[in-house]
């Protein structure tokens, strides 16, 4: 820039053009908002590890014991009792021989057997399958209901809003678990399928999201572009679904993940109390409830289902955290200042 002073005006324009091209080459390509969010999400290590974990668990649970009529590659069934081998101890070993273990082996019953000789791997996988189904269905139902109701209440305000707020108040008075238990018992008695239970859970967990979306919409509806859309004669549904809801996508996605994690834990609590999944079907909560007293004698019956719940819920929560960081526009500058926990020292160029 120092040499600008000595130039004539014609030269100056060409210099400006040269500088422009230089700038265009040196800086990154312009990106869409969703691209930026996606790239930020990819950089969030815990979230990426969690995603990989979730995909892995989903693939294993659905392919191993099969789903519905489709058979899986795992040979034992969760319904068949058998002879208890070696006290039902797990045959899985991961410790290599040079560390004093017996080498990597899966064996006949990797997670052990329960008291009547059922294969515990098949039982746990069946239970984990239910947790994942719950996660997907509750995520879809609660997100849809919460987003639509929240948006409608925030946009129209007035009595719709009043009714919504009173319904959310209802959930302060009736604890979520209590309402879910009563509805779960109705669903269990009438059909007994996991889809009925997850639908019911979806019907009671939407309120949190609805409140948040309402809050966002309340401030968004005062923006100019909404007035512009209204002035041009857009229908109300178009304003809500085209202009308002896409702008709350961050809140919706992030809270959907937390609702999913909550629903997985809620299902396991209900099954533990006996209001959720009923025998002979298995569920992770039900397995823990059955074997909580076997802790001293056969601890694996207690550990496996619990660990699977924790891993799934933890992965979903970290995924939500990654999404929140990705959607938060204030995160851009911050992230660089964050001292990496496992970062190696790098050579810093002078700016």
């Amino acid at each position: 820039m120092n040499n600008i002073n000595g130039k004539t005006p014609q030269d100056l324009t060409s210099i400006a053009e040269v500088e422009d091209t230089k700038l265009a080459v040196s800086t990154e390509q312009s990106k869409s908002q969703s691209r930026i969010v996606f790239e930020r999400f990819l950089k969030h290590k815990p979230a990426m590890i969690s995603s990989a974990m979730l995909v892995l668990i989903t693939v294993i649970t659905f392919t191993s014991v099969g789903f519905g009529p489709i058979p899986g590659w795992w040979k034992q069934s969760y319904l068949d009792a058998g002879t208890v081998i070696d006290g039902g101890k797990p045959t899985l070993s991961l410790l290599p021989t040079w560390l004093g273990g017996s080498g990597f082996a899966i064996g006949e019953h990797p997670f052990g057997q329960d008291s009547v000789g059922k294969d515990y791997f098949a039982l746990v996988m069946n239970g984990a399958q239910k947790s994942i189904i719950i996660a997907v269905v509750v995520g879809a139902v609660a997100t849809f209901l919460g987003a639509v109701i929240g948006a409608v209440a925030g946009y129209f305000r007035g009595w719709v809003d009043e009714v919504l707020m009173r319904i959310t108040d209802l959930f302060i008075v009736i604890p979520l678990l209590v309402l879910a238990a009563v509805l779960g018992q109705i669903a269990g008695r009438s059909s007994g399928s996991i889809f009925a239970l997850s639908l019911v859970l979806g019907l009671v967990t939407w309120t949190g999201l609805a409140r948040l979306v309402r809050g966002e919409i309340l401030s968004l509806r005062e923006r100019e572009y909404v007035s512009a859309a209204q002035a041009m004669g857009s229908r109300t549904s178009r304003v809500i679904f085209k202009h308002l809801l896409p702008n709350t996508i961050g809140v919706i996605v992030v809270n959907a993940t937390f609702a999913i994690a909550g629903a997985i834990l809620l299902e396991s609590s209900l099954s533990f109390l006996g209001f959720g999944v009923q025998k002979p079907e298995s569920s992770l909560g039900l397995l823990i409830s059955q074997y909580q007293n076997a802790f001293v004698t056969r601890p694996w019956l207690f550990w496996w289902p619990g660990m699977i719940i924790v891993v799934i819920a933890l992965a979903v929560n970290f995924l939500g955290d990654g999404l929140r960081d990705a959607f938060d526009p204030r995160q851009t500058g911050k992230r660089r200042r964050r001292a990496g926990l496992f970062a190696l020292p790098t050579r810093k160029e002078k700016p």
């Binding site: 009173r166 108040d169 209802l170 959930f171 302060i172 008075v173 009736i174 604890p175 979520l176 678990l177 209590v178 309402l179 238990a181 009563v182 509805l183 018992q185 109705i186 008695r189 994690a261 834990l265 396991s268 609590s269 533990f272 109390l273 006996g274 209001f275 909560g285 823990i288 409830s289 909580q292 802790f295 001293v296 207690f302 619990g306 719940i309 924790v310 819920a313 933890l314 979903v316 929560n317 970290f318 955290d321 200042r337 964050r338 001292a339 926990l341």
Partner: protein
């Protein structure tokens, strides 16, 4: 303000009414209350069915049954509650009293512990954003968020309760273990206290040396079976508190604050001897009155001696008085502990809310309740601690970016004043709403916790009631927890309004 409270109360009662109707309809339609009798082979089957129909008014249509129940609840206002009979014909009102007291004790204690600790941790992690402590706490909160209550409860029962009880039979800590504990505590403490690298190193060294010595000394004293404190240690501790509280608030030179605090320390010593025999056989009333006096008396002293600093002097003296009283009570608890161990060899209880036929005096029963309460409270508190600390952290971070914080810093205020006077108060506002939701969540958690720990509380009433499709106990559960939730919510609203004047309009 009164109008605001009345308005909130009015809408809350309306919601409670609607919720009770909804729950009643759902519960009576959740199954067949005569299901088990229909399948039974008993000779007097018809008679038993007729009896149950009479108990539960099953021949009436649902709305009449609901109105009967509502009428019974209405009688509570004239002092004779009638909450109906359960499936076996037992009056629910009689069952409720015991169940409610143990459950509410559990939930309230867990809420208070979780809120206080959670907010403190949240503030600390927000102040030290992106430090090692922040990462550790963040990971732990995510872990606690993802923990199934019942699973964590069983783990605690097996490891903490049974492990501690076994250990207490013959308390031993090897030198290697105590050094390891010292190193871990030192590491955590230097994370917590922070500061420059030199200061952290010093904190670590002092703790890593001091803790193992303390552990070995306490073993030599046989402290874990025969704990002791005595007036000398109480006075030293309260004196240290008085000095440090004064130094931290205004500095030791300010006699207007220092003297009332020192007088309070003397008062604590006098009261220790004066109430010794009274407290040896105390009861709940004496403790409650004592707690109020321990705050009020030093407060008054501080107010009159404080002069222009009377506000500060009042709070410092009241704090010293309260802690001194707490230590005095702790001293009596320590004295009762060996006798209590004779009555109950394995102190940490895993089943029930109190031990049957324990005998012993007030302190023995107090300790019994406390040890039975310990594990369920830890389980419940851990889980809601996570949400409190998380929300406080994000709320604090939000507030710290505000302009008035920058103004406060640029005025040259100390970092402590900026954090506690300016940032913390404003950060508390959103927490008040979370507290209400969290309380409802904790009651749900209590249902699960009571099942694991075998309490005969409200949660047990609810789950056995619902299994049997028996509306009376379920509705009694709802009535108590719903009312408690509303009161708690109202309290949160009032705190909210006090913190944020804009709400009151």
């Amino acid at each position: 303000m009164l109008k605001f409270i009345l308005k909130r109360l009015g809408s809350a009662v309306g919601v409670l009414f609607a919720a009770s109707l909804l729950l009643y309809i759902l519960v009576i339609n959740s199954g067949d209350p005569l299901g088990d009798l229909r399948e039974s082979n008993a000779e007097n089957r018809e008679y038993l069915m007729q009896q149950r129909i009479d108990y539960m008014n099953l021949e009436q249509p649902w709305y009449l049954r609901y109105l009967t129940w509502l009428g019974g609840v209405g009688k509570c206002f004239v002092g004779s509650c009638d909450l109906g009979r359960n499936i076996n014909g037992v009056e629910v009102s009689g069952l409720l009293a015991n169940a409610a007291s143990s459950t509410l004790r559990l939930v309230l204690l867990a809420t208070v512990i979780a809120a206080v600790l959670g907010i403190a941790i949240g503030v600390l992690t927000a102040v030290r954003q992106y430090s090692g402590l922040d990462y550790l706490v963040t990971f732990l909160t995510f872990l606690f968020f993802s923990l199934p209550v019942f699973w964590a409860a069983v783990l605690l029962k097996e490891y903490m309760a049974i492990g501690y009880n076994d250990w207490l039979e013959n308390p031993q800590i090897t030198i290697g273990t105590s050094i390891l504990i010292g190193v871990i505590v030192g590491f955590l403490l230097q994370m917590l206290l922070g500061g420059s690298l030199k200061r952290r190193r010093l904190t670590f060294l002092i703790t890593a040396i001091f803790v193992p010595l303390l552990l070995q000394y306490s073993l030599w004293l046989n402290f874990y079976r025969y704990p002791q404190m005595g007036p000398a240690i109480i006075v030293v501790l309260t004196l240290l508190l008085a000095l440090s509280a004064t130094a931290m608030s205004v500095g030791l030179k300010e006699k207007k604050v220092l003297y009332p605090a020192l007088i309070t320390v003397v008062l604590v010593l006098v009261v220790y001897y004066a109430t010794f025999w009274l407290l040896n056989d105390a009861n709940a009333w004496i403790l409650a009155i004592g707690a109020i006096l321990s705050v009020a008396l030093p407060g008054i002293i501080g107010k009159f001696m404080g002069g222009r600093l009377s506000k500060l002097a009042t709070s410092v003296s009241a704090l010293v008085g309260f802690v001194g009283a707490g230590l005095t009570v702790l001293d009596h608890i320590f004295r009762a502990w060996p006798g209590f161990l004779d009555l109950k060899g394995r102190p940490i209880g895993t089943i029930g809310s109190s031990t049957a036929n324990l005998g012993g005096g007030f302190w023995d029963n107090f300790l019994d309740n406390a040890t039975q309460l310990l594990l369920p409270t830890i389980v419940l508190a851990i889980i809601s601690l996570a949400s409190y600390s998380r929300y406080t952290r994000s709320s604090m971070l939000e507030v710290q970016q505000q302009d008035y914080i920058r103004t406060a810093r640029s005025k040259g205020l100390s970092e402590r004043t900026v954090i506690f006077r300016h940032a913390f108060r404003n950060a508390l506002i959103p927490i008040a709403t979370i507290a209400a939701f969290d309380f409802a969540g904790l009651i749900g958690g209590a249902v699960v916790t009571e099942t694991v720990f075998g309490w005969k509380g409200m949660g047990d009433m609810f789950s056995t009631g619902l299994h049997a499709v028996d509306p009376a106990p379920v509705m009694a559960f709802f009535l108590v927890t719903g009312t408690a939730a509303i009161l708690f919510n109202l309290l949160a609203d009032i705190v909210y309004a006090l913190l944020d004047p804009r709400i009151r309009v």
